[in-house]
Amino acid sequence: MAEAIAFYFISACILGFAVLVISTRDTVHSVLFLVLDFLFVAALYVLLGAQFLAAIQILVYAGGIVVLYLFVVMLVNLKRPPEAHSDPHRKTNWGFALSIAVLVELAAVAAYSYARPAPALAAAAQAPVPLSGNTEQVGWLLYTSYLIPFEIASMLLLVAMIGAIVLAKREL
């Protein structure tokens, strides 16, 4: 019962802040709402039993990526807000309508699958994880079954790091 209340409260906050992120005029406020959003998402992860991921979310997302966004926002010093004039080429209303249509469709799919419960997905028979604790489980999987994606992800991060440095340098 308490879990359900917590879940609904956290979900309401997440959605509320997300709406605020995309609708605030001031960019800095937007970024701050994004941070709050990520913190609530981390709380949701803890509720769902993924503590390691919650900590990683705060560390990487809220503490790293959004700081980066904040830096860029401050470096790109806005003289006039870009929403000041509306572009005739841009069909904003179509965008809204399409999004609402997709949402309605997704809701319909969800309702349909609730009415007819999907066949229980055979829980993939992994080798029984000998260690308990969330972090050990994740680590175990990362280093044994998913080693190659792990290495590829690290290569990707390396490439992204080099790319970001090259892009942001003033003179090569």
Binding site: V28, H29, L32, V35, L39, Q51, F52, A54, A55, I56, I58, L59, A62, G63, G64, V67, L70, F71, M74, G133, N134, T135
Partner: protein, 339 residues
């Protein structure tokens, strides 16, 4: 009911109050120690030997006029000191002051909680603390604080990387992320990690100095640089909050270093029989003794070393500490596998 609700609440209240009192007295301690290092006496007028100086400071700061710059962003301006203070305080939830002891006929563990990602929690909360500084500089709506805050936050996130990498090698040695687990591992392995991982200890110490904006890395907030750094426009209670946050951060770093490297509440060489008489001293006394040593070390360093220039600072973080941390990690991994 009592066990799961009242006792943690009581612990939280005690820890918070103790922290706030400790932080205010840190101010006095720092002034005294730096004064003695400079052959003078420090605050002596208020109370015997200046003991009541923090009270005078607190009263002064509270009755000071609270100025908000005209075109500053009101919400962000008010929120920034809070954002700076909260991470410094909530880290205390996972720091273990001692093991389970029996108090009033009840088993009470001397830490508020023990989550199984304790160390990761501490690092993530530290990375959220950066926001307070960035927002303080931005919200002041004037050039100098903005530049100073950008510098400060760049410094913080750089040293965060070095510290996190170093902490991974500690995790390798202890095999668990929970703080109590790390202390237990030091007990089981019979040795404080400062002897097993001296390089990591030095790295975390230097990183901790840089993370809390302490000398010799206090360029962002020194009075001679950029007219006072990111808290130039703050006055009264908000300024006090920033300073308290900095001292609270210092105490947090001391406590974390104590737990990770000096065995938390364990006496030296915890598992050897001849030294068992050291257990007569209660565990939390050991903890506070060791933390106090580190606090003193921080103040001592501030009184002694000159300040790093900004580019020297960043070069130190990126070009020296991070490679050293990675090398330490690799060596630890290899040794762990071979042994």
């Amino acid at each position: 009911m009592v066990d799961s609700f009242v006792i943690p609440l009581l612990k939280i209240v005690i820890v918070l109050n103790a922290t706030l009192v400790a932080v205010t007295y840190m101010v006095l301690l720092e002034r005294k120690v730096i004064a003695w290092a400079q052959s003078r006496l420090g605050p002596m007028r208020v109370g015997p030997y200046g003991i009541l100086q923090p009270v005078a400071d607190a009263v002064k700061l509270m009755i000071k006029e609270d100025i908000t710059p005209v075109r500053a962003d009101r919400w962000v301006f008010t929120a920034a000191p809070i954002i700076s203070m909260v991470p410094a305080l909530i880290v205390y939830a996972v720091i273990p002051f001692g093991p389970k002891i029996t108090l009033f006929g009840r088993q009470v563990s001397l830490y508020i909680t023990d989550i199984n990602v304790g160390l990761l929690y501490i690092v993530s909360v530290a990375s959220v603390g950066v926001y307070g500084i960035i927002l303080a500089g931005y919200a002041s709506n004037s050039k100098f604080p903005l530049l100073a805050s950008l510098r400060a936050s760049a410094q913080l996130i750089s040293y965060e990387v070095a510290v996190t990498l170093t902490l991974v090698s500690v995790i390798l040695m202890s095999g668990t992320l929970s703080m109590v687990g790390i202390v237990d591992a030091q007990y089981n392995q019979g040795v404080w990690y400062i002897f097993a991982q001296p390089i990591a200890f030095v790295l975390v110490l230097i990183g901790g100095l840089a993370e809390t904006n302490r000398a010799p890395f206090d360029l962002p907030e020194a009075e001679q640089e950029l007219t006072g750094g990111f808290h130039t426009e703050y006055s009264g209670m908000r300024f006090a909050l920033f300073f308290l946050a900095e001292y609270a951060n210092m105490i947090v770093v001391s406590s974390v270093v104590t737990t990770l490297f000096l065995g938390g509440w364990l006496p030296p060489f915890p598992n050897t029989a001849p030294l068992h008489f050291l257990y007569a001293i209660p565990s939390w006394v050991w903890f506070f003794l060791k933390s106090f040593c580190f606090l003193y070390l921080f103040i001592w360093i501030r009184a002694t070393l000159p300040r790093y220039r900004y580019d020297q600072l960043m070069a130190l973080g990126w070009k020296f500490l991070i490679p050293l941390a990675i090398a330490n990690l690799v060596v630890t991994g290899i040794v762990k596998v071979l042994l």
